[in-house]
Protein backbone atom coordinates (compact mmCIF):
# COMPACT_ATOMS: atom_id res chain seq x y z
CA UNK A 1 0.00 0.00 0.00
CA UNK A 2 1.43 3.39 -0.97
CA UNK A 3 1.80 6.27 1.47
CA UNK A 4 -0.97 8.14 -0.35
CA UNK A 5 -3.31 5.15 0.04
CA UNK A 6 -2.36 4.89 3.71
CA UNK A 7 -3.37 8.52 4.30
CA UNK A 8 -6.67 7.88 2.52
CA UNK A 9 -7.36 4.88 4.76
CA UNK A 10 -6.45 6.87 7.87
CA UNK A 11 -8.82 9.63 6.80
CA UNK A 12 -11.54 7.01 6.16
CA UNK A 13 -12.59 7.62 2.58
CA UNK A 14 -13.21 5.06 -0.17
CA UNK A 15 -12.52 7.36 -3.14
CA UNK A 16 -10.00 9.68 -1.66
CA UNK A 17 -7.87 11.63 -4.12
CA UNK A 18 -8.65 13.33 -7.42
CA UNK A 19 -5.64 14.37 -9.45
CA UNK A 20 -6.04 17.78 -11.05
CA UNK A 21 -3.19 19.68 -12.75
CA UNK A 22 -0.58 17.88 -10.69
CA UNK A 23 -2.31 18.26 -7.30
CA UNK A 24 -3.91 15.32 -5.50
CA UNK A 25 -7.09 16.74 -3.93
CA UNK A 26 -8.74 14.87 -1.10
CA UNK A 27 -12.49 15.33 -1.46
CA UNK A 28 -14.48 14.78 1.73
CA UNK A 29 -17.05 16.80 3.67
CA UNK A 30 -16.18 14.92 6.85
CA UNK A 31 -12.55 15.95 6.97
CA UNK A 32 -11.20 17.13 10.32
CA UNK A 33 -8.10 19.28 10.18
CA UNK A 34 -6.49 17.76 13.27
CA UNK A 35 -7.08 14.19 12.08
CA UNK A 36 -5.58 15.29 8.78
CA UNK A 37 -2.45 16.67 10.48
CA UNK A 38 -2.03 13.42 12.44
CA UNK A 39 -2.34 11.35 9.24
CA UNK A 40 0.24 13.53 7.49
CA UNK A 41 2.61 13.17 10.46
CA UNK A 42 2.17 9.40 10.37
CA UNK A 43 3.39 9.17 6.76
CA UNK A 44 6.05 11.88 7.27
CA UNK A 45 4.55 14.21 4.70
CA UNK A 46 6.11 17.68 4.57
CA UNK A 47 3.80 20.62 5.28
CA UNK A 48 3.87 23.17 2.45
CA UNK A 49 1.38 25.98 3.10
CA UNK A 50 -2.20 27.14 3.59
CA UNK A 51 -3.78 29.21 0.82
CA UNK A 52 -6.83 31.26 1.83
CA UNK A 53 -9.54 32.68 -0.41
CA UNK A 54 -12.33 35.05 0.50
CA UNK A 55 -15.33 33.69 -1.41
CA UNK A 56 -17.73 36.06 -3.18
CA UNK A 57 -21.27 36.93 -2.01
CA UNK A 58 -20.81 36.40 1.74
CA UNK A 59 -20.01 32.73 1.16
CA UNK A 60 -17.17 32.79 3.63
CA UNK A 61 -13.66 31.48 3.18
CA UNK A 62 -11.88 28.55 1.62
CA UNK A 63 -8.67 27.30 3.22
CA UNK A 64 -6.49 24.95 1.19
CA UNK A 65 -3.89 22.97 3.16
CA UNK A 66 -1.00 21.43 1.25
CA UNK A 67 1.49 18.70 2.12
CA UNK A 68 4.20 17.14 -0.01
CA UNK A 69 4.51 13.37 0.01
CA UNK A 70 7.61 12.24 -1.90
CA UNK A 71 7.13 14.89 -4.58
CA UNK A 72 3.33 14.54 -4.77
CA UNK A 73 1.45 17.66 -3.75
CA UNK A 74 -1.60 16.79 -1.66
CA UNK A 75 -4.45 19.29 -1.27
CA UNK A 76 -7.20 19.46 1.38
CA UNK A 77 -9.89 22.15 1.27
CA UNK A 78 -11.95 23.50 4.17
CA UNK A 79 -14.84 25.92 3.71
CA UNK A 80 -15.69 28.34 6.52
CA UNK A 81 -19.13 29.87 6.14
CA UNK A 82 -20.01 33.48 6.96
CA UNK A 83 -17.93 36.58 6.39
CA UNK A 84 -17.98 38.08 9.86
CA UNK A 85 -14.82 38.19 11.94
CA UNK A 86 -16.41 35.90 14.53
CA UNK A 87 -17.47 33.19 12.06
CA UNK A 88 -14.04 32.49 10.55
CA UNK A 89 -12.80 29.79 12.92
CA UNK A 90 -10.90 26.57 12.47
CA UNK A 91 -8.85 24.43 14.85
CA UNK A 92 -5.14 25.15 14.90
CA UNK A 93 -2.71 22.32 14.14
CA UNK A 94 0.30 24.19 15.50
CA UNK A 95 0.75 21.69 18.36
CA UNK A 96 0.84 18.83 15.82
CA UNK A 97 2.87 20.53 13.10
CA UNK A 98 5.14 23.38 14.12
CA UNK A 99 5.75 24.34 10.48
CA UNK A 100 2.26 25.91 10.29
CA UNK A 101 3.13 28.60 12.84
CA UNK A 102 3.90 31.49 10.48
CA UNK A 103 1.21 30.72 7.90
CA UNK A 104 -1.53 30.37 10.56
CA UNK A 105 -0.43 33.73 11.95
CA UNK A 106 -0.36 35.27 8.47
CA UNK A 107 -3.85 33.99 7.59
CA UNK A 108 -5.11 35.30 10.94
CA UNK A 109 -3.57 38.69 10.20
CA UNK A 110 -4.73 38.89 6.58
CA UNK A 111 -8.27 37.52 6.91
CA UNK A 112 -9.05 37.68 10.63
CA UNK A 113 -9.58 33.92 10.71
CA UNK A 114 -9.19 32.47 14.20
CA UNK A 115 -7.13 29.30 14.59
CA UNK A 116 -8.52 28.04 17.89
CA UNK A 117 -6.37 26.44 20.56
CA UNK A 118 -3.23 28.49 20.07
CA UNK A 119 -1.76 31.77 21.20
CA UNK A 120 -0.61 34.37 18.71
CA UNK A 121 2.67 36.23 18.77
CA UNK A 122 2.51 39.92 17.79
CA UNK A 123 1.69 40.60 14.16
CA UNK A 124 4.03 38.97 11.68
CA UNK A 125 3.81 41.20 8.62
CA UNK A 126 2.09 44.43 9.64
CA UNK A 127 3.00 45.36 13.23
CA UNK A 128 0.47 47.77 14.68
CA UNK A 129 -2.38 46.77 12.35
CA UNK A 130 -5.68 45.05 13.06
CA UNK A 131 -6.09 41.39 12.06
CA UNK A 132 -7.87 41.11 8.72
CA UNK A 133 -6.93 44.56 7.50
CA UNK A 134 -5.08 43.42 4.39
CA UNK A 135 -7.81 41.40 2.75
CA UNK A 136 -11.12 41.68 4.54
CA UNK A 137 -12.99 44.38 2.66
CA UNK A 138 -15.48 44.97 5.46
CA UNK A 139 -12.69 45.53 7.99
CA UNK A 140 -10.79 47.79 5.62
CA UNK A 141 -13.89 49.98 5.23
Amino acid sequence: MSAVEITAEMLASSEPYQEESGVYWFISDELNVRELAKAMNAVQARFVTITTYQLPKEEGFRLEYHWDLGGRLLGFAFNLSGNSIESGKIESIYDLCEAVDWIEREVHEEYGIEFTGREYEPLLLRPGDTPGVNKREEVAK
Binding site: S21, R46, T49, D68, W102, R126
Partner: protein, 363 residues
Amino acid sequence: MSYKIPMGPYHPGLEEPYKLDMICDGETVTDAKLHIGFNFRGIEHLAETRNYVQVIALMERVCGICSFIHTLTLCQAMEKLTGAEAPPRAKYIRVVMAELERLHSHVLWAGIAAKLMGFKTMFMTCFELREKVMDVLQAISGNRVNYSMNRVGGVNRDIADPTALVGMVDELEREMVKKVIPIFTTSATALSRCAGIGVLTHEKALSCAAVGPVARASGVNQDLRRDAPYAAYEEMEFEVPVQPDGDVKARLLVRALEILESCKILRQALTRMPPGELVCGDGKFNFLKVAMKTAISRVEAPRGEVFYSVSWRDGSRTPARVHVRTPTYANMPAVRYMVMGARLADTPLIQASIDPCYSCTDR
Protein backbone atom coordinates in the same frame (compact mmCIF):
# COMPACT_ATOMS: atom_id res chain seq x y z
CA MET B 1 22.09 36.45 34.39
CA SER B 2 20.30 36.32 31.04
CA TYR B 3 19.82 39.40 28.88
CA LYS B 4 18.27 40.20 25.49
CA ILE B 5 20.24 41.37 22.48
CA PRO B 6 18.32 42.62 19.46
CA MET B 7 19.97 42.09 16.08
CA GLY B 8 18.25 44.21 13.46
CA PRO B 9 16.10 45.25 11.77
CA TYR B 10 19.05 47.32 10.50
CA HIS B 11 22.38 45.80 11.44
CA PRO B 12 25.81 45.46 9.78
CA GLY B 13 25.55 41.66 10.07
CA LEU B 14 22.30 41.49 8.09
CA GLU B 15 21.95 41.84 4.35
CA GLU B 16 18.27 42.77 4.57
CA PRO B 17 16.04 44.10 7.33
CA TYR B 18 14.59 41.66 9.83
CA LYS B 19 14.95 41.30 13.58
CA LEU B 20 16.37 38.55 15.71
CA ASP B 21 15.81 39.05 19.46
CA MET B 22 18.32 36.80 21.21
CA ILE B 23 18.20 35.77 24.85
CA CYS B 24 21.79 35.29 25.99
CA ASP B 25 23.48 33.78 28.98
CA GLY B 26 26.95 35.30 28.88
CA GLU B 27 28.17 34.82 25.31
CA THR B 28 25.81 31.89 24.67
CA VAL B 29 22.44 32.29 22.96
CA THR B 30 19.77 30.37 24.85
CA ASP B 31 16.72 31.31 22.77
CA ALA B 32 15.71 33.63 19.97
CA LYS B 33 12.61 35.21 18.49
CA LEU B 34 12.25 36.33 14.88
CA HIS B 35 10.40 39.33 13.55
CA ILE B 36 9.77 39.88 9.85
CA GLY B 37 7.61 42.28 7.86
CA PHE B 38 10.03 45.17 7.39
CA ASN B 39 9.88 44.66 3.60
CA PHE B 40 6.14 44.07 3.33
CA ARG B 41 4.98 45.42 -0.04
CA GLY B 42 1.55 43.80 -0.36
CA ILE B 43 2.55 42.12 -3.64
CA GLU B 44 -0.12 39.39 -3.39
CA HIS B 45 -2.78 42.09 -3.11
CA LEU B 46 -1.20 44.16 -5.90
CA ALA B 47 -1.25 41.07 -8.15
CA GLU B 48 -5.07 41.11 -7.98
CA THR B 49 -5.01 44.51 -9.70
CA ARG B 50 -2.70 43.51 -12.58
CA ASN B 51 -3.65 41.86 -15.88
CA TYR B 52 -2.10 38.63 -17.18
CA VAL B 53 0.86 40.51 -18.75
CA GLN B 54 1.48 42.98 -15.93
CA VAL B 55 1.30 40.30 -13.24
CA ILE B 56 4.39 38.58 -14.71
CA ALA B 57 6.40 41.81 -14.49
CA LEU B 58 5.14 42.35 -10.94
CA MET B 59 6.01 38.87 -9.65
CA GLU B 60 9.48 39.16 -11.21
CA ARG B 61 10.07 41.77 -8.52
CA VAL B 62 9.23 39.55 -5.54
CA CYS B 63 12.94 38.64 -5.37
CA GLY B 64 16.02 40.35 -6.75
CA ILE B 65 17.99 37.13 -7.09
CA CYS B 66 15.40 34.48 -8.04
CA SER B 67 13.47 36.78 -10.36
CA PHE B 68 13.45 34.18 -13.16
CA ILE B 69 12.22 31.44 -10.83
CA HIS B 70 9.25 33.52 -9.67
CA THR B 71 8.04 34.22 -13.21
CA LEU B 72 8.68 30.59 -14.17
CA THR B 73 6.50 29.35 -11.31
CA LEU B 74 3.79 31.91 -12.09
CA CYS B 75 3.82 31.16 -15.83
CA GLN B 76 3.68 27.40 -15.21
CA ALA B 77 0.57 27.95 -13.05
CA MET B 78 -0.97 30.22 -15.71
CA GLU B 79 -0.17 27.63 -18.38
CA LYS B 80 -2.26 25.14 -16.41
CA LEU B 81 -5.11 27.70 -16.39
CA THR B 82 -4.90 28.30 -20.13
CA GLY B 83 -3.98 24.86 -21.38
CA ALA B 84 -0.88 26.32 -23.08
CA GLU B 85 2.26 24.20 -22.97
CA ALA B 86 5.72 25.59 -23.57
CA PRO B 87 7.47 24.03 -26.62
CA PRO B 88 10.55 21.80 -25.99
CA ARG B 89 13.11 24.50 -26.85
CA ALA B 90 11.45 26.94 -24.44
CA LYS B 91 11.58 24.29 -21.70
CA TYR B 92 15.32 23.83 -22.28
CA ILE B 93 15.88 27.59 -22.19
CA ARG B 94 13.96 27.67 -18.89
CA VAL B 95 16.31 25.01 -17.50
CA VAL B 96 19.38 26.98 -18.65
CA MET B 97 18.11 30.21 -17.08
CA ALA B 98 17.06 28.48 -13.85
CA GLU B 99 20.47 26.82 -13.45
CA LEU B 100 22.37 30.02 -14.28
CA GLU B 101 20.29 31.72 -11.62
CA ARG B 102 21.18 28.94 -9.17
CA LEU B 103 24.89 29.41 -9.96
CA HIS B 104 24.57 33.16 -9.54
CA SER B 105 22.71 32.76 -6.23
CA HIS B 106 25.01 30.11 -4.73
CA VAL B 107 28.22 31.92 -5.71
CA LEU B 108 26.82 35.18 -4.34
CA TRP B 109 25.95 33.40 -1.09
CA ALA B 110 29.42 31.85 -0.84
CA GLY B 111 30.90 35.35 -1.18
CA ILE B 112 28.67 36.78 1.53
CA ALA B 113 29.42 33.83 3.82
CA ALA B 114 33.15 34.41 3.25
CA LYS B 115 32.74 38.08 4.13
CA LEU B 116 30.93 37.17 7.37
CA MET B 117 33.76 34.78 8.23
CA GLY B 118 36.21 37.66 7.82
CA PHE B 119 37.63 36.02 4.70
CA LYS B 120 37.62 38.98 2.33
CA THR B 121 39.92 37.43 -0.31
CA MET B 122 37.40 34.63 -0.78
CA PHE B 123 34.61 37.20 -1.01
CA MET B 124 36.40 38.85 -3.94
CA THR B 125 37.03 35.49 -5.64
CA CYS B 126 33.36 34.49 -5.37
CA PHE B 127 32.09 37.82 -6.63
CA GLU B 128 34.46 37.64 -9.60
CA LEU B 129 32.90 34.26 -10.49
CA ARG B 130 29.40 35.61 -9.97
CA GLU B 131 30.17 38.46 -12.35
CA LYS B 132 30.95 35.94 -15.09
CA VAL B 133 27.59 34.22 -14.57
CA MET B 134 25.78 37.55 -14.62
CA ASP B 135 27.51 38.45 -17.89
CA VAL B 136 26.06 35.29 -19.43
CA LEU B 137 22.59 36.08 -18.06
CA GLN B 138 22.92 39.54 -19.57
CA ALA B 139 24.10 38.12 -22.91
CA ILE B 140 21.01 35.88 -23.07
CA SER B 141 18.35 38.22 -21.76
CA GLY B 142 19.77 41.73 -22.07
CA ASN B 143 19.25 42.19 -18.33
CA ARG B 144 21.24 41.47 -15.19
CA VAL B 145 18.51 41.25 -12.53
CA ASN B 146 14.98 41.11 -13.95
CA TYR B 147 15.39 39.05 -17.10
CA SER B 148 11.86 39.26 -18.60
CA MET B 149 12.40 35.83 -20.12
CA ASN B 150 9.14 34.07 -19.26
CA ARG B 151 5.73 34.44 -20.81
CA VAL B 152 2.64 32.27 -20.73
CA GLY B 153 3.31 29.37 -23.09
CA GLY B 154 7.07 29.83 -23.51
CA VAL B 155 9.94 32.29 -23.37
CA ASN B 156 10.55 35.73 -24.87
CA ARG B 157 14.12 35.27 -26.12
CA ASP B 158 16.14 32.56 -27.78
CA ILE B 159 19.70 31.44 -27.06
CA ALA B 160 21.19 31.82 -30.52
CA ASP B 161 24.25 29.60 -30.04
CA PRO B 162 23.80 27.45 -26.89
CA THR B 163 27.07 25.51 -27.33
CA ALA B 164 29.04 28.79 -27.14
CA LEU B 165 28.09 28.98 -23.45
CA VAL B 166 29.60 25.59 -22.61
CA GLY B 167 33.08 27.21 -22.31
CA MET B 168 31.82 29.50 -19.54
CA VAL B 169 30.33 26.53 -17.69
CA ASP B 170 33.66 24.64 -17.96
CA GLU B 171 35.59 27.65 -16.68
CA LEU B 172 33.25 28.18 -13.75
CA GLU B 173 33.43 24.53 -12.79
CA ARG B 174 37.25 24.63 -12.99
CA GLU B 175 37.39 27.66 -10.70
CA MET B 176 35.01 26.03 -8.21
CA VAL B 177 36.98 22.78 -8.11
CA LYS B 178 40.39 24.48 -8.05
CA LYS B 179 39.76 27.41 -5.68
CA VAL B 180 36.43 27.75 -3.91
CA ILE B 181 35.64 24.19 -2.76
CA PRO B 182 39.19 23.32 -1.52
CA ILE B 183 39.50 26.61 0.38
CA PHE B 184 36.07 26.29 2.03
CA THR B 185 36.66 22.65 2.96
CA THR B 186 40.29 22.72 4.08
CA SER B 187 41.20 26.24 5.21
CA ALA B 188 41.51 26.58 8.98
CA THR B 189 39.77 29.99 8.86
CA ALA B 190 36.69 28.58 7.13
CA LEU B 191 36.53 25.40 9.18
CA SER B 192 36.87 27.17 12.51
CA ARG B 193 33.86 29.35 11.65
CA CYS B 194 31.67 26.66 10.01
CA ALA B 195 32.24 23.16 11.37
CA GLY B 196 29.82 22.19 14.14
CA ILE B 197 28.24 25.68 14.13
CA GLY B 198 24.49 26.38 13.84
CA VAL B 199 23.38 22.75 13.76
CA LEU B 200 19.86 21.96 12.53
CA THR B 201 19.21 18.31 13.32
CA HIS B 202 17.52 15.99 10.84
CA GLU B 203 14.46 15.73 13.11
CA LYS B 204 14.13 19.51 13.46
CA ALA B 205 14.58 20.00 9.70
CA LEU B 206 11.65 17.61 9.18
CA SER B 207 9.41 19.14 11.86
CA CYS B 208 10.11 22.69 10.61
CA ALA B 209 9.44 21.48 7.02
CA ALA B 210 12.71 23.05 5.87
CA VAL B 211 13.35 23.11 2.13
CA GLY B 212 16.21 23.36 -0.35
CA PRO B 213 19.90 23.29 0.60
CA VAL B 214 19.03 23.88 4.29
CA ALA B 215 17.00 20.64 4.40
CA ARG B 216 19.51 18.72 2.27
CA ALA B 217 22.36 19.80 4.58
CA SER B 218 20.41 18.16 7.44
CA GLY B 219 20.10 14.86 5.62
CA VAL B 220 16.65 15.43 4.07
CA ASN B 221 16.82 14.03 0.56
CA GLN B 222 14.37 16.19 -1.37
CA ASP B 223 14.58 18.19 -4.59
CA LEU B 224 11.61 19.07 -6.80
CA ARG B 225 13.76 18.94 -9.95
CA ARG B 226 14.03 15.18 -9.35
CA ASP B 227 10.88 14.43 -7.28
CA ALA B 228 8.35 16.47 -9.27
CA PRO B 229 10.17 17.47 -12.47
CA TYR B 230 9.06 20.52 -14.47
CA ALA B 231 10.35 22.27 -17.62
CA ALA B 232 12.90 19.84 -19.15
CA TYR B 233 14.35 18.45 -15.89
CA GLU B 234 12.96 14.99 -16.58
CA GLU B 235 15.51 14.70 -19.41
CA MET B 236 18.48 15.81 -17.29
CA GLU B 237 20.82 13.52 -15.36
CA PHE B 238 22.08 14.87 -12.07
CA GLU B 239 22.66 13.97 -8.44
CA VAL B 240 21.05 15.61 -5.43
CA PRO B 241 23.82 16.39 -2.89
CA VAL B 242 22.85 15.55 0.69
CA GLN B 243 24.98 16.03 3.82
CA PRO B 244 24.09 14.62 7.23
CA ASP B 245 25.74 17.07 9.67
CA GLY B 246 23.27 19.99 9.58
CA ASP B 247 25.91 22.62 10.42
CA VAL B 248 27.05 25.71 8.49
CA LYS B 249 29.80 23.65 6.83
CA ALA B 250 27.23 21.14 5.55
CA ARG B 251 25.11 23.96 4.07
CA LEU B 252 28.22 25.34 2.42
CA LEU B 253 29.19 21.94 1.03
CA VAL B 254 25.69 21.21 -0.30
CA ARG B 255 25.66 24.49 -2.20
CA ALA B 256 29.20 23.95 -3.52
CA LEU B 257 28.26 20.47 -4.78
CA GLU B 258 25.03 21.86 -6.24
CA ILE B 259 27.12 24.31 -8.28
CA LEU B 260 28.91 21.34 -9.84
CA GLU B 261 25.58 19.59 -10.49
CA SER B 262 24.23 22.79 -12.05
CA CYS B 263 27.24 22.85 -14.38
CA LYS B 264 26.42 19.23 -15.31
CA ILE B 265 22.76 20.14 -16.04
CA LEU B 266 23.77 23.25 -17.99
CA ARG B 267 26.15 21.26 -20.18
CA GLN B 268 23.37 18.77 -21.00
CA ALA B 269 20.75 21.46 -21.66
CA LEU B 270 23.06 23.55 -23.84
CA THR B 271 24.35 20.68 -25.97
CA ARG B 272 21.00 18.87 -26.36
CA MET B 273 18.75 21.90 -26.87
CA PRO B 274 16.22 20.98 -29.55
CA PRO B 275 15.39 23.38 -32.39
CA GLY B 276 11.91 24.83 -32.63
CA GLU B 277 9.52 27.50 -31.48
CA LEU B 278 9.85 29.61 -28.34
CA VAL B 279 6.11 29.98 -27.69
CA CYS B 280 3.25 27.55 -28.19
CA GLY B 281 0.90 28.26 -31.10
CA ASP B 282 0.93 31.88 -32.22
CA GLY B 283 1.55 33.13 -28.70
CA LYS B 284 -2.15 33.78 -28.02
CA PHE B 285 -4.08 32.00 -25.30
CA ASN B 286 -7.44 31.97 -23.55
CA PHE B 287 -8.20 31.16 -19.95
CA LEU B 288 -10.28 28.00 -19.54
CA LYS B 289 -14.01 28.69 -19.46
CA VAL B 290 -14.83 27.79 -15.88
CA ALA B 291 -16.36 30.02 -13.20
CA MET B 292 -13.26 29.93 -11.04
CA LYS B 293 -10.14 27.89 -11.59
CA THR B 294 -7.07 27.51 -9.42
CA ALA B 295 -3.71 26.16 -10.53
CA ILE B 296 -0.65 25.41 -8.43
CA SER B 297 2.96 25.29 -9.52
CA ARG B 298 6.13 24.48 -7.60
CA VAL B 299 9.74 25.04 -8.61
CA GLU B 300 13.08 24.28 -6.91
CA ALA B 301 14.61 27.74 -6.53
CA PRO B 302 18.25 28.16 -5.39
CA ARG B 303 16.99 28.47 -1.78
CA GLY B 304 14.38 25.71 -2.02
CA GLU B 305 10.78 25.16 -3.03
CA VAL B 306 8.76 28.11 -4.36
CA PHE B 307 4.98 27.58 -4.35
CA TYR B 308 2.45 29.61 -6.37
CA SER B 309 -1.31 29.20 -6.23
CA VAL B 310 -3.07 31.27 -8.89
CA SER B 311 -6.86 31.64 -9.19
CA TRP B 312 -8.72 33.16 -12.12
CA ARG B 313 -12.42 33.93 -12.57
CA ASP B 314 -13.93 33.38 -16.01
CA GLY B 315 -13.83 36.54 -18.12
CA SER B 316 -11.58 38.44 -15.74
CA ARG B 317 -8.43 40.22 -16.91
CA THR B 318 -6.92 40.07 -13.42
CA PRO B 319 -6.24 37.13 -11.10
CA ALA B 320 -8.65 36.52 -8.22
CA ARG B 321 -5.79 35.44 -5.97
CA VAL B 322 -2.04 34.86 -6.20
CA HIS B 323 -0.52 33.17 -3.17
CA VAL B 324 3.26 32.86 -2.92
CA ARG B 325 5.14 30.66 -0.43
CA THR B 326 8.85 31.31 -0.69
CA PRO B 327 11.68 29.08 0.61
CA THR B 328 12.93 31.54 3.23
CA TYR B 329 9.40 31.67 4.66
CA ALA B 330 9.72 27.91 5.27
CA ASN B 331 13.36 27.93 6.42
CA MET B 332 13.52 31.01 8.61
CA PRO B 333 11.71 29.62 11.70
CA ALA B 334 14.44 26.95 11.88
CA VAL B 335 17.05 29.67 12.58
CA ARG B 336 15.74 29.77 16.16
CA TYR B 337 16.98 26.20 16.67
CA MET B 338 20.25 26.87 14.84
CA VAL B 339 21.25 29.75 17.12
CA MET B 340 20.21 28.08 20.40
CA GLY B 341 23.45 27.16 22.18
CA ALA B 342 25.59 29.10 19.69
CA ARG B 343 28.09 31.82 20.52
CA LEU B 344 26.72 35.31 19.96
CA ALA B 345 29.55 36.11 17.52
CA ASP B 346 28.50 33.21 15.28
CA THR B 347 24.87 34.31 14.87
CA PRO B 348 25.36 36.59 11.81
CA LEU B 349 26.97 33.69 9.93
CA ILE B 350 24.37 31.18 11.16
CA GLN B 351 21.42 33.27 9.98
CA ALA B 352 23.22 33.91 6.69
CA SER B 353 23.83 30.18 6.23
CA ILE B 354 20.18 29.63 5.26
CA ASP B 355 20.72 32.21 2.47
CA PRO B 356 17.74 34.25 3.66
CA CYS B 357 15.76 36.54 1.39
CA TYR B 358 13.43 38.90 3.22
CA SER B 359 12.25 40.60 0.09
CA CYS B 360 10.72 37.20 -0.85
CA THR B 361 9.56 36.37 2.65
CA ASP B 362 7.65 39.58 3.25
CA ARG B 363 6.37 39.94 -0.32
